[in-house]
Symmetry: C2
Subunit: 126 residues, 2 copies
DNA sequence: TGATAGTATAGCAATATTATAATATACATG
DNA sequence: CATGTATATTATAATATTGCTATACTATCA
C-alpha cells in the first residue's frame, strides 16, 4: 500500500521534515572522528588552529578542513588573533550534548572492556 | 591486495581516535532527516513499522531501511509481535540527547522565524 | 499447504563525503 | 613592499549514503 503524497506549494506552512533536515545537518557535522576530537578539546575553551593541530598531530590542512565543516554548521565561531585564528564553541550546550552522548556510549559499551575503560577515563578528566 | 590486519587482543592499548570513531558512527546514525523523525516518534514509546510508516507517510522499504541504520548502530531494538515488528529506543537517554540538541537549535535559530516557531511548538508537545 | 500481511533486503544509479596533496590567501613585521 | 607564518581552499580519486524499485523472507490463518 503506497500512501498518497503531494508536492509543497508556495503558501504552504513548513513541511514536516524541514526542521529535521536542519537537525540532521547538525548531527552530520559531529559525525566524524576528527571533528569529535576537535570538539572534545574545544569544550575546555577556545583554541587556535595551531594548538588544535599539535594536540591531534594531524596535518594543518586536514584540521582546517574539518574546522570548516564545523564552522559551516555554526557549531564553532572564529576570531582572529594576530596571525592566528581562535576557534570557540558557539554554544556551550555542545559540551552537554557530548556528555549525554558519552553516557549513552557508556551504557552501550558495557562488556566492551577496552573502550569502556577509556570512556571512564574521559568522564573523569576536567 | 588486502593490507594485513589482526584482531585486537586482550591487553592491547586503544589507538587514539578509536573511541571517537565509535562516537562518530553513532552521530552519523542520527544524521538523516527521516531517522530524526523516527526517533522523535520513538521517544514517546515503541512503535511498529506500520505505525511509523503511517506517521511519516513514507514508503515501507524506506522506513525499514532507515530503521536498519538505527538498528545497526544499536540505537533501537526490535521485538516481534505476531506479524509486526515493534521498534524501541535502546536507551531513553536518546530522548535527552534530542532535547539538548533542540536547545542548541533554538539558540541557533533565533531570527529564523519559521523554523523557530516550529521548534517552539515541538518543545511544548508532550 | 497456499495465500496474505508485515517487514526486510538486494541491486543500482545518483549524490555526497573523505583523504590527500598541492596551492592560495591573509597579514604582521622587518 | 617583500617575506615568513598561520590558515584556508581546491582538485580529485576513492568510498559511502541515499532513494528507488523489485524481490525475498516469515509468521499467521484459512
Amino acid at each position: 500500500m503506497t500512501p498518497p503524497r503531494r508536492r509543497r506549494t508556495a503558501g504552504d506552512a513548513i513541511v514536516a521534515g524541514e526542521l529535521q533536515t536542519f537537525k540532521a545537518r547538525f548531527f552530520r557535522a559531529l559525525a566524524h572522528p576528527t571533528r569529535i576530537r576537535l570538539l572534545e578539546i574545544l569544550v575546555h575553551g577556545g583554541r587556535t588552529v595551531q594548538e588544535l593541530q599539535q594536540a591531534l598531530t594531524l596535518d594543518q590542512p586536514l584540521v582546517s578542513q574539518q574546522l570548516a565543516v564545523l564552522r559551516n554548521q555554526n557549531v564553532v565561531s572564529t576570531q582572529k588573533e594576530g596571525l592566528s585564528v581562535r576557534y570557540t564553541l558557539r554554544d556551550p550546550l555542545v559540551g552537554e550534548l557530548l556528555d549525554v552522548a558519552r553516557r549513552i556510549f557508556n551504557n552501550q559499551l558495557v562488556g566492551t572492556r577496552g573502550l569502556l575503560r577509556e570512556l571512564r577515563r574521559e568522564a573523569r578528566r576536567p
